[in-house]
Every structure is written in structure tokens, then in C-alpha cells.
């Protein structure tokens, strides 16, 4: 089941939280939704899950429009909201039973299904506790369990791993990847490494608009027109090297990285290469070059570049 978002705009007062956004998520794809706080990620997800209705545009989930068949869409989607709201007074098992019965799961199948979810989400020891008594990580697991309980075709997860410990994060990521093989998954996060590790495709949204769309290597290539080198030179005075590197015609920026050794980070001007120049410089001056490493552009840099302005 695909998700098709077509030109949606959502206004809160005069402010546009989401501004003419369109994208598609295909079956078997995990789409990562990235963006700074307040970029419109949650609003878009709330529109997809039929909680908010966009002012303009349409969203189709499995061919059903949110304006015409919200009840059908709600059945297809498993949703974990951002702040993970749960009925705090209910025991874990009762909460899951309640959600399962709302989804119309047959009575005889509810209990085995809950046992399965409890196992998958690692809630075995906590299942009889009231949700109020659980730690944040366990609450998050209950949130995931309730989103997955009806074996949904489409999964919308708003920051699914927040509050989990590293082991749990890895488990949940694996779970999401497994689900993502057959189903449609849209997840938001502001942890870039997570999106990179989990998602097939990344969508970066800023101020309500989509600023980038592609696989993580696509996005990296986009920002990779500059060359960044890590350079260590010995047998010379720091300031002299700094000035010499700065004076190279293709250099854009030089950073001193370590205070003790002479390690620098040199950034080239767009579409220029520096490696040969640095080597020649050392040969000319008689310095010893002990390190010359090209640094790969990190997704963080791409993200910063696209969202800081």
C-alpha cells in the first residue's frame, strides 16, 4: 500500500506549518523524514493518519483519500504519535487489549496477538504494570506495540526510538527494517545516523517545505562538490603552515584541528581539488607530510547546509 501525499498545505493561523508538500512512499520502502524541530514533520504525519485535515491538497493511503475514507485509512495505518500518549492508568495488557479491540481484531485472536507483541517489544516483565509506573523506554515500547498490534500495512512512526537505550534502539531498528520489507514505513527522526541506518530513502523538510529527497548517498553527493582534507605536517611551525595552506589558490578554508600536533582540515573551493597542491607545497618547502585523508561529507553537513539559512 502506497502513501501518496499530493500538494498538502496546513495552516495554523497565519503560519504555514506545511507548505505545498508532495511525496510518495511505496510498498516495501522505509522513508525517513528528517527536519529540525517545528519543520512540519509531525503535522504531515498527523495529516496522513487522519488526525489533522490539511487546508489544501489530498493524501491517499492505499488508494483511499483521507477526505473520503478516514475510517478505512485508520484501519490500515499503525501510528506512533510524537509524544507517545497512552492511558497512564491502564495496565500494559489492558491498554493493548483496548487498542486491539478498537481495531476490530477477533476476540479469540487478541490474546495470542498481544503475547506476540509483548515478546517482540520486550515487555514480558512489565506487562501487568500500570503504564504510569513504567520508565520512558518501556512506555515507548508500549507505544510501538500498540502501533503494531493489528499488523498494519502502513506504519507511521514519529520518532520511534526516542527514550530507548542503545541496545533497544538497535533491536527496534531491526524490527522496523524487517517490517519495512513487505510494508510501507514512514518514520521521522532527528537522529541522522538512525535514518541513515534504517531508511531506504530520506526526505528532508524545512520550514514546511521539502528541501531534499533521495537515498543517503544521493544526498551526500549533492553536497560533495567540495573536497575536505585532513592534513598533518611535521617539522614546521604551525602558523607558517597555516598561512601557506591558506595561500594555496584552491583553498577555501583552513581549520586547525589539534592544538598539540599540526593537524589541519582544509576545505577546497567548489569543484576544485587540493590533494596535489598540498603535496607539492610540502615538497617545495621540505616539510614532512604524515597525513592526507579526504574526509567524507557527513549527512550532518548536508542536513546543516539544507536547513540553516
Amino acid at each position: 500500500m502506497d502513501i501518496q501525499v499530493e500538494n498538502i498545505t496546513k495552516r495554523f493561523g497565519y503560519q504555514k506549518a506545511v507548505d505545498n508538500v508532495s511525496f510518495q512512499v511505496k510498498t516495501g520502502e522505509i522513508l525517513g523524514f528528517l527536519g529540525p524541530n517545528g519543520a512540519g514533520k509531525s503535522t504531515t504525519m498527523r495529516a496522513i493518519t487522519c488526525y489533522l485535515s490539511p487546508n489544501e491538497g489530498d493524501i491517499k493511503v492505499g488508494g483511499y483519500s483521507i477526505h473520503e475514507y478516514p475510517e478505512k485509512i485508520k484501519k490500515i495505518i499503525g501510528y506512533l504519535p510524537e509524544s507517545n500518549p497512552l492511558y497512564q492508568d491502564m495496565p500494559v495488557i489492558d491498554h493493548l487489549k483496548f487498542i486491539a479491540s478498537l481495531h476490530g481484531i477477533e476476540k479469540s485472536k487478541i490474546i495470542p496477538r498481544i503475547q506476540e507483541m509483548v515478546k517482540t517489544c520486550g515487555l514480558e516483565g512489565e506487562k501487568h504494570k500500570k503504564i504510569r509506573e513504567l520508565s520512558r523506554g518501556y512506555k515507548q515500547r508500549v507505544g510501538l506495540a500498540q502501533a503494531l498490534i493489528h499488523d498494519p500495512q502502513v506504519l507511521v512512526l514519529d520518532e520511534p526510538t526516542s527514550g530507548l537505550d542503545p541496545n533497544q534502539i538497535i533491536e527496534i531498528r531491526e524490527l522496523i527494517r524487517e517490517i519495512g520489507r513487505e510494508k510501507t514505513v514512514l518514520l521521522s527522526s532527528h537522529i541522522l545516523a538512525e535514518v541513515e541506518a534504517t531508511c531506504d530513502r530520506i526526505l528532508i523538510i524545512n520550514k514546511g517545505k521539502i528541501v531534499a529527497d533521495g537515498t543517503s548517498s544521493d544526498l551526500r553527493k549533492k553536497a560533495q562538490n567540495k573536497e575536505i582534507l585532513r592534513v598533518t605536517i611535521e617539522e614546521a611551525e604551525k602558523n607558517t603552515i597555516y598561512k601557506a595552506l591558506q595561500a594555496l589558490p584552491n583553498t577555501d578554508l583552513v581549520d586547525i584541528i589539534s592544538q598539540s600536533g599540526n593537524t589541519f582540515e582544509v576545505q577546497s573551493k567548489p569543484n576544485m581539488s587540493l590533494r596535489k597542491d598540498v603535496f607539492k607545497l610540502c615538497v617545495d618547502k621540505g616539510w614532512i607530510l604524515t597525513e592526507l585523508t579526504p574526509t567524507e561529507t557527513k549527512l550532518e553537513d548536508v542536513f546543516r547546509e539544507l536547513t540553516m539559512n
Partner: protein, 241 residues
Amino acid sequence: MTIIWIITRRELKSFFDSLLAYIFIIAFLGFTGLLTWIIGRTVFMMQEASLQQFFGVAYWSLFFFIPALAMKLLAEERGNGTLELILTKPVSDIQLVSGKFLAILILVLLSLVLTLPYYITVAKIGPIDHGATIMGYLGLILMSGAYISIGVFASSLTNNQIVAFLLALFIGIFFHLLFGFISQYFPGFIGNTLSYLSLSNHYESIIRGVVDTKDLIYFLSIIALGLFGAEQVIAKRNITN
């Protein structure tokens, strides 16, 4: 219908788990019991086998108790954000609102059922007017429905339960007292309209044993209006966080 019932069941369970339901039932029975049998103008002083005294007390105590029960219904869900959780499940706005309404109605019905021993006792003492008594109960049920509906509406407007409680009382007092009171000072059309709006007039005409369709329509339309209003407010989704 099953969805509404699932919501009602959860709501009822949370009322009993939090002891609120027991407190309400005990307070209601204690209050009506005391004033019907022990203190003030009791059944015994009336020299007549009738539950009129009980209906009078219940009429006022439900007026105060119902807003207290209803205040958390939607205000709590709004405050905790669980509104988002439940409305992204296959639940429509009106199903949620109706489920909540039904939960309190069942709670009130339960407490009224528990007053049946009053009825039986009085019936043993002397010749009771069964018709009037049944009408009395019907009147209480219809009145409760109206106030629950107003309570649900008030609760949909705010995240704060105390505000919801006071708001429900504020709206309620117009129907309970003020419309009837003010109508006396206005002749003609305005007076008639206000007097028709007064809940106590309709309640009294029912417990007198006359069920007019006009009265039934009145109560049912207040219930419908309150639930519809709550649905409209919920549908707007005033997101505060």
C-alpha cells in the same frame, strides 16, 4: 456500535479503578438516603407513600454530581494527548463523544437502580402511586442525560478539568434554575420561550405523571445538541502542544 461500547467500557473501568465511581455512588446514596429517610421532611412525615421527597433531592444532587463525573471525559484526553491516540484508531469523533456520554449515563443508571430498595420499602408501607414513581425515575434519567451531554460539551472545550466542571455547572444552572426564574418577568413570546427552555418545567411535568412528546423532544434535543457541539469542538482539533 461496538466501537462506542468499547470506549464506554474503558471509561467505566477507569471510573471504577480510580474509585471515582464508588465515591459517586456512595455519596449519591448517602445524600438521597439521609434526606429521604432521616433528616428534614422525610417520607414518614409526609403521611403518604410517595417518593416525591427522594426525587426532589436526587434532582439537585445529580445536578452537582454529574458535572464532576463528566469533567474529565474529554478534558483529560486533550491534556494527555491521548485524543490523538484514539482518534487515529478507527474511531470517529462522534463515536468517541457518544461512548463517553454512555459511560456516565450507565453510572447514573446504576446508582438509580441502587435506590430501588427505597421504592420497594415505600411500596410496603402503603399504597404507592406506581405510575408517578416510574415517571419520576424517567424524569431523573432524562434530566441526567441532558446534564451529561452538557458536561461532555463543557469537557470538550478545555484541557483543564476544573474549568470543565465550572463551565458545566454554569451552563447547567441556566437550564436548572435561571430560565424558569427569568421567564416569570417576561410576558409573551420571550417568557414562553424561556419557560420552554427551563429544564425544571419539563422535569416537573414528567414527574407529575404526564409524558408529553414536547418534554421528550426537549430532553432528547438537549442531549443531541450537547453531543453534536462536543463533536464539532473535537473535530476542530485545537492543538495546543
